[in-house]
């Protein structure tokens, strides 16, 4: 049996190997990075956006920007296919596609004066590609709010203490912000107080949970709705900035604790992977339907293997701060493999300690009764095990499920979803408890806080961005009806529209439908970015045959994979939803239309790409 720690070590070796071979080849032969060439940070230095930064500083910042809840939740869902296929996609996707995407998006932007990948697409493939790019962003935001709203409300319902800690962290972030930006305590003093407040938030969560505090899922959704609207409309220095800063500590601490825990467990001969390596090519993952691993996997694992949103960070922000072209490899390529490492850690933690975690959640669900308990009974009957009545029978139930790969493939995703995905933070807590003896409840609250802190940031930034996009969309109304324009472009109204629609989608509890749609839109964005960099490499850089192959092959592969995946999604997953009627039909219709628009845009982009590739080459 394989140990989770070995996966972590193997990931480190594979990523290091690719970094120094594949990465260096891309740097030297494809990008032809030149340390003497002036980067936009110097050429266009303005002390505001264009400022050179230390390469390690920029790497850490870039990684913290691209790593959110995505690389944690996606691989957790994909375990329905088994840990081996999930790991395969994370590693293969990372070193074959993800790093090419991230590194070249960054470097193409550096060569185009720090412009975003969407703008470069417009430059290389025409104005329509640029419009399509902006449409991707707009359509994605609704799904982002729905998916992340659901995951936060679910995790808070499963671990109410984390909900308390999460809310306190929001308030404490405001306090930390005031201390850092408005008092003589400054950066260092405010930071120390911030650490203490994080510990205080976890302690408060621990004690309120012990006291029996709990809120239902819908109540958390209401709280999140109010939070998203307010957070998206207040100045960034009040909450967004200090919370994002505090999140960075939580991210690096959780990554270090988890990674070291797995390696330490491996050295002690513990942390064996007890979940099935492979459950089958088909598993009930997307929308509860039998889902083929290929092409459906990118609809589940996006961040961690490949994420289109990374190209936005790389091309819009990091490229303006690159001090030297040679630093791009560490920032773009290194940032992506670090995210792959994070996903590897999650897969290892869950496949080794998921049984204990799932047993805990199953026992709690059965004790509480309701639809999750009914599902457990249904699965127990199918497995031929007795009813779950206590912790021992819950453990036996999960062990039986884990020892039967076919049954695991059929039931895992649905069960974990019904159990509010509490299996993710609980697995992490069990692993760190086994390694260092850390308190299980405290670590569960910490892990939930870690995941939800990122998801909360995503929730309010998506609402904020949606507000900007909505206000831009309302511009034509100005000449037609000034009064209506003023109402609809009001910042509160603009935030409310997106947040309410997103939360309504989340309230349908169709997470296994919404998440793939969100991931699919993300992958469509990456498909556009990959095609853009392929045109750049082929037409502008005029790379060698191998260099072109290393970029064009992933671009075509991803385009085919994502297009087929979304067509499969539209034809297999959406129709039963619509046929079911009620809220399922509404969710299916909304998500189906959004992804259909995405597929249409993707086909249009492919035609533009072919046209651009056949055009005579341009210089520089």
């Amino acid at each position: 049996m394989v140990q989770a720690g070995l996966l972590v070590v193997a990931a480190l070796i594979i990523y290091a190997l690719f970094y120094f071979t594949h990465g260096r080849y891309l740097q030297n032969k494809v990008v032809r990075a030149d340390p003497r060439r002036e980067t936009p940070a110097y050429k266009l230095y303005d002390g505001v956006d264009y400022v050179p930064a230390n390469k390690y500083v920029l790497y850490g910042h870039h990684f913290a920007s691209i790593a959110g809840a995505g690389p944690i939740v996606g691989p957790a869902i994909a375990l329905g296919w088994g840990w081996l296929p999930s790991l395969f996609w994370v590693w293969f996707g990372n070193v074959f596609v993800g790093v090419v995407h991230d590194y070249l998006a960054l470097m193409a932007s550096v060569r185009y004066d720090g412009r975003t990948i969407g703008w470069i697409a417009g430059r290389l493939m025409g104005r329509r590609a640029f419009v399509a790019f902006n449409a991707y962003i707009w359509f994605s935001l609704l799904l982002v709010v729905a998916a992340f709203g659901f995951i936060i409300a679910s995790l808070f319902t499963a671990t109410p203490g984390a909900g308390v800690a999460g809310i306190l962290l929001i308030l404490f972030a405001v306090v930390t912000g005031i201390l850092i930006y408005r008092t003589p305590l400054g950066f260092k003093g405010g930071t120390v107080v911030g650490w203490l407040l994080i510990i205080l938030a976890i302690a408060a969560g621990y004690y309120t949970q012990a006291a029996g505090f709990a809120l239902p899922f819908d109540a958390w959704l209401w709280i999140l709705l109010v939070y998203a609207i307010i957070a998206a409309s207040i100045p960034v220095w009040v909450l967004l900035q200090p919370r994002d800063y505090m999140n960075a500590y939580i991210l690096w601490a959780s990554l270090a604790i988890g990674g070291v825990a797995l390696i330490w467990l491996a050295l002690r001969g513990e942390g064996l992977l007890t979940w099935p390596a492979v459950t089958g090519f088909f598993a009930n993952v997307v929308g509860g339907q039998p889902s083929p691993f290929w092409p459906a996997v990118p609809l589940v694992i996006a961040c961690g293997a490949l994420s289109g949103f990374h190209s936005l960070v790389g091309s819009g922000t990091s490229s303006k701060q690159l001090d030297n072209e040679l630093h791009g490899l560490l920032v773009g390529y290194g940032g992506m493999v670090t995210e792959g490492f994070l996903s590897t850690m999650i897969i290892g933690v869950m496949a080794s300690y998921g049984t204990l975690a799932l047993a805990d959640s199953v026992f709690k669900a059965v004790s509480a009764g309701g639809s999750a308990a009914d599902l457990v009974s249904e699965i127990a009957s199918a497995l031929g095990v007795g009813a779950v009545t206590d912790k021992a029978s819950a453990l036996k139930f999960v062990e039986t499920l884990a020892s039967n790969p076919a049954a695991f493939g059929s039931f895992y995703a649905g069960l974990a979803n019904a159990l509010k995905w509490s299996v993710i933070p609980l697995s992490y807590a069990y692993a760190t408890n086994a390694a260092f003896g850390l308190d299980l409840t405290v670590m569960t609250i910490f892990a939930t806080l870690w995941i939800t802190a990122f998801a909360l940031t995503t929730l309010d930034t998506a609402t904020r961005l949606g507000r900007y996009a909505w206000q831009e969309l309302m511009e034509p109304l100005k000449s037609v009806s000034g009064g209506l324009y003023r109402v609809l472009s009001n910042k509160w109204i603009a935030s409310i529209i997106l947040a309410v629609l997103g939360m309504l989608l989340a309230a349908t509890r169709q997470f296994l439908i919404i998440w793939p749609a969100f991931a699919g839109m993300n992958q469509l964005l990456s498909s556009l970015a990959l095609m853009t960099v392929a045109v750049w490499v082929y037409k502008v850089q005029r790379a060698s045959a191998l260099g072109n192959a290393l970029v064009i092959a992933p671009a075509i592969f991803m385009w085919i994979t994502v297009t087929l995946a979304l067509l499969w999604y539209e034809s297999v997953v959406i129709p039963p939803m619509i046929a079911a009627g009620g809220t399922s039909a509404l969710t299916g219709a909304v998500v189906g239309v959004v992804t259909a628009v995405g597929v249409a845009l993707n086909i249009a982009i492919f035609i533009l790409w072919i046209t651009a590739m056949r055009r005579p080459a341009e210089s520089g």
């Binding site: 266009l44 303005d46 002390g47 505001v48 956006d49 264009y50 930064a53 230390n54 390690y56 500083v57 920029l58 790497y59 850490g60 910042h61 913290a64 920007s65 959110g68 995505g70 690389p71 412009r115 975003t116 990948i117 969407g118 703008w119 640029f130 790019f133 902006n134 962003i137 994605s140 935001l141 982002v144 850092i180 930006y181 950066f187 930071t191 960034v236 220095w237 967004l240 900035q241 200090p242 994002d244 800063y245 960075a248 500590y249 994420s307 949103f309 990374h310 936005l312 960070v313 091309s315 819009g316 922000t317 940031t457 995503t458 930034t461 998506a462 961005l465 900007y468 996009a469 993300n522």
Partner: protein
Amino acid sequence: MLNRLWDVARRFTGSLLGMLKMRSVEYLEAELRELENVFALLVLGSFIGLPSPPLPISLRLLPHLGRELLVATRISERLDDMLGEMAGLFEIS
């Protein structure tokens, strides 16, 4: 050997601190940039037909606004892609 290790530790800590400082101000910098745009518009608005402030005041302030003008000009060149820039700044993953 010890000196070398100390140097590595010092550089690592410095980088970590730098990264964290960057994370603590990135949105503020973007907001500051927007405020500078508004300020430049208020002060130099008379050149593009905005009524405030009076032209003599604008002309007297002009020599002190070289950098603001440069930044505003650069940003104006990127105005067709502000949604993309904001999407890059606000992390959605």
